[in-house]
Symmetry: C2
Subunit: 168 residues, 2 copies
């Protein structure tokens, strides 16, 4: 609260005039940030084109979102790790449901015989894990700076999913 108060230019005690407690402030801020980002992803998914072209669009946008905003990515992963049930329910129902449904719909177009919920999770995880592991990958065999290049990551994921899903 003290760090935040410095960042916004008022004293810590004054924050309690605008928010009842720390939890409420965090929750409001989180919802604001996530809703903002989710909109960008949903738009990328509602475009036209073949399923494979839309897959390419989604992967590219999602890679850019995660790569260009490390703080947002860390916040997302912290919520998945530490969020209690009530907070995750709120986050799911108010923010994630839109983009997730769009990804699942794309998944069903790409592979009608596959569980769309599971495939949607796989598609997102495939992108996210490359960024989640970025700080440790430099110390692992074969790690190169190019593996942090957004275009290289997007191409790798797109090709892998394309081959897995028939590339039609």
């Amino acid at each position: 609260m003290r760090d935040l108060s410095k960042a916004v230019g008022i004293r810590a005690a004054s924050l309690y005039h605008h928010f009842p407690d720390k939890q409420s402030l965090y929750l409001d801020a989180m919802e604001y940030v996530f809703a903002d980002k989710a909109e960008g992803i949903t738009m990328a998914l509602n475009g036209n084109g073949t399923p494979f072209e839309r897959l390419e669009q989604f992967v590219t946008r999602f890679v850019e979102l995660m790569g260009n905003d490390p703080n947002f990515r860390a916040l997302l992963q912290r919520e998945l790790l530490d969020g209690d049930e009530a907070r995750l329910k709120l986050l799911a129902e108010r923010v994630f449901i839109g983009p997730f449904q769009a990804i699942a719909a794309l998944a069903e177009d790409l592979a009608p015989d596959c569980d769309p919920h599971m495939l949607a999770i796989s598609m997102a995880g495939l992108v996210l894990f490359h960024f989640e592991t970025a700080p440790i990958r430099r110390f692992l065999p074969g790690g190169q700076p190019k593996h942090n290049d957004l275009k290289v990551v997007a191409q790798h994921v797109t090709r892998l999913l394309g081959k897995a899903l028939g590339e039609n």
Copy 2:
């Protein structure tokens, strides 16, 4: 430190006789736990069989490890999220290098034309993300209890990777 002291049955001050500070205690404990788990995965990867059989073996074992030990999975993700450079370097060089090299070698057998470092990351991430998102997936469309079944997750990931990598 106080919680831990209760768990082990001595007073908090006594912990400082065995470890110089909280960081050292945490680091020692972490290294012990990770080394223990990494051995199991490496063994599953050094078996015989066709590349696809070894892929099936790896995915099954990795899914079981993450599914049966949620605390270990959370610890792994917390390190990736919060670990400073020195700690991640130590973790990578002393613990992860073994299993990672084995996964990368399998990746090269499965797809010689693909970057083995990137494919290894994708293989691990595909498994991990299904567990990382477990607490929020119940609130997302299409989420069912069976998606937390270890066999269902293993089969989904194996099929997806099998199709992507030619299944030979």
